[in-house]
């Protein structure tokens, strides 16, 4: 059996897991619908109480005039950028080289919307004000992702965001927020969602990351913006006759977890310290700024898989089900804190990290 399969199998058999809210299974839907009256009418092509109420609730929470529910963030964000491009008569947007639209969407933005992205900053660091100052004036929109997921969920300081926003607005460049994990960074910024979103002309948020829903996204902004977004939603094939399976579950888990983001953040910081105590292991960022971080190993993937699988089998505590190779002697994984972390007995957690530290110390000497 390859080590990667052994790692996943050992992980699946652990009693406790550090990341996540639990399994993505059908029970997630059943729990969300358990107390919903069967007589409640479906939304119908974007209309009806179920969808309107949730869109209004999210618009208010994000401090925007209007909000539209989408089946996916991929669809919502391409559409947001397209609207800003059409408004300016430009095909240029700017974003980070590891932006979701650049690396995870099969070039939908380019192939469907013929939009040319300019990549700002180096892949391994955040977009800073200096990068923004060099953008061309005919740019339609700058996309900022908070936190920058692919580099461990790093964040610029709030004043940098304010400066970027001011600069763009003076230049007539729209600013769009990829807030896939926006809820998760509010405890770090010590701001409300509306205070962060006020710096942006349009905002996307997701309901299956920290919130733990089934799928779905909100795109918010001015009424004129969302009215256009609804038309594009139809064009993309996202204006489903019924989106309520995602809406009702998003609403359910939003209410259940939005107040826990501070707890997840504190737990992430606590857990990162434990990882950083192991030799040849470090977290990115060193001190997390949300519920997520990356764990990097100065060892080959196969070696780390062996160490971790052994840990799971010995302690019953699972850390990750898979690793990504960086080069022949480096690998990493992403970890997001959810409801499961608080269920791990602290004593067993610390014992597991003692074992882990020993193993990596041994690996170092070998």
């Amino acid at each position: 059996m390859p080590e990667s399969n052994r790692l996943l199998e050992a992980y699946q058999q652990t009693k406790y897991q550090l990341p996540g809210h639990g399994k993505r299974n059908i029970q997630v839907l059943k729990d969300a619908f358990a107390d919903v009256d069967g007589n409640l009418d479906s939304d119908i092509y974007g209309k009806g109480e179920v969808i309107q109420r949730f869109e209004d609730k999210m618009a208010a929470y994000l401090g925007k005039e209007s909000a539209v529910f989408f089946p996916s963030g991929t669809m919502a964000q391409q559409i947001g950028l397209r609207i800003w491009c059409d408004a300016k008569g430009s095909r240029k947007v700017a974003y980070h080289p590891l932006c979701h639209l650049e690396i995870h969407e099969q070039d939908g933005l380019k192939r469907l919307h013929h939009i040319d992205p300019i990549l700002l900053a180096a892949p391994d660091r955040l977009i800073e004000l200096e990068d923004v100052l060099q953008m061309p004036d005919d740019l339609a929109c700058l996309l900022i992702e908070l936190p920058q997921r692919e580099i461990g969920g790093q964040l610029p300081d709030f004043q940098t965001l304010v400066s970027i926003s001011e600069f763009c607005r003076n230049k007539g460049i729209k600013v769009h927020l990829d807030g896939a994990r926006l809820f998760e960074v509010l405890p770090y910024y010590q701001k409300t969602a509306a205070e962060v979103c006020a710096l942006f002309d349009s905002v996307y948020v997701s309901f299956y990351k920290g919130i733990g829903g089934i799928a779905g996204a909100i795109l918010a902004g001015d009424k004129t913006f969302t009215e256009e977004a609804v038309v594009w939603k139809r064009r993309h094939g996202g204006d489903l006759i019924s989106l309520y399976p995602y809406i009702i579950s998003a609403d359910h888990y939003f209410d259940q977890r939005i107040s826990k983001m501070g707890q997840y953040y504190e737990e992430a910081k606590e857990l990162a310290i434990l990882f950083n105590r192991c030799e040849g292991v470090h977290t990115l960022p060193t001190v997390p700024v949300s519920n997520m971080f990356h764990v990097h190993f100065d060892h080959a993937k196969g070696q780390v898989e062996q160490v971790l699988a052994g840990l799971y089998e010995e302690t019953g505590i699972g850390v990750t089900g898979s690793l990504r190779e960086l080069d022949s002697d480096k690998c990493y994984f992403e970890l997001s804190i959810g409801d499961l972390y608080e269920k791990v007995p602290k004593e067993e957690l610390h014992r597991a990290f003692e074992v882990l530290a020993e193993r990596f110390a041994t690996l170092r000497q070998a």
Copy 2:
């Protein structure tokens, strides 16, 4: 109160309704999931047992090599046509003037894919072989909708389909089936789905028309075709992390209703006879060829609303909740038979149509 509101309200209060399967409410989802084990894993971005099993089942049912589940038919069909266009290096497709892509999708095909449709046939009749013979050779794809919904769900005879398919294949033109209501026409053709689909290179079917699911569609064809479709699904924002709310309900209601299509068809023919007995009322087609037909009135919309609302209040039998105006003295509505029709006591049904015939006779004399 406007007559149209009165009609809808009276309809909603009827004891029996002739069309449909029942209310589109949350109970539809609850029923589909009642017997599903909560431990069943979600599909993840198009992978996993839940989605694979249903895609395989539908590929086999449609007689195609491979099938892909989509959140919507709008997305599935645009993508199907795009793939055939790219394969031929052409931007031309042909379809009926009242094709869903032409009138219900905010020009997504044109705005996202830059595809130029050629409109075949007049809006009020089916595409015939003669129309197809005149198509240009550089056409990438011909789309045929079975049944042609916007003209009452009419169908070409099967031999015409065979001839159209043969002609296109000889010319190197792909043939795509808009089978939103394919299941519903199989009893008329007395063919299996696979026998019909064999005439087409790609096929779309829907799960919330006759099947009565929540939403969702299948796009089927050769493996090379569906592999491309999966990439485009990601680009469109349709490759959701979890599509199981639609997949499981589609599967549930497919199993429940696929064998009832013959019954719906017979009931539609029976019901059309009753409408056609009323003066100034006729169905299109006169003899239905599926579970659906249109009911046309040679009277102003307001007058018919008054007659129908009166009928509902007097007999407790609802026929439609809304009418569409054709011109100042003509209107119509669409009717699709589902599970509700069999619940209407025959005696009450015939009494209602006696009342209706009387009312229209009176209206004629006035």
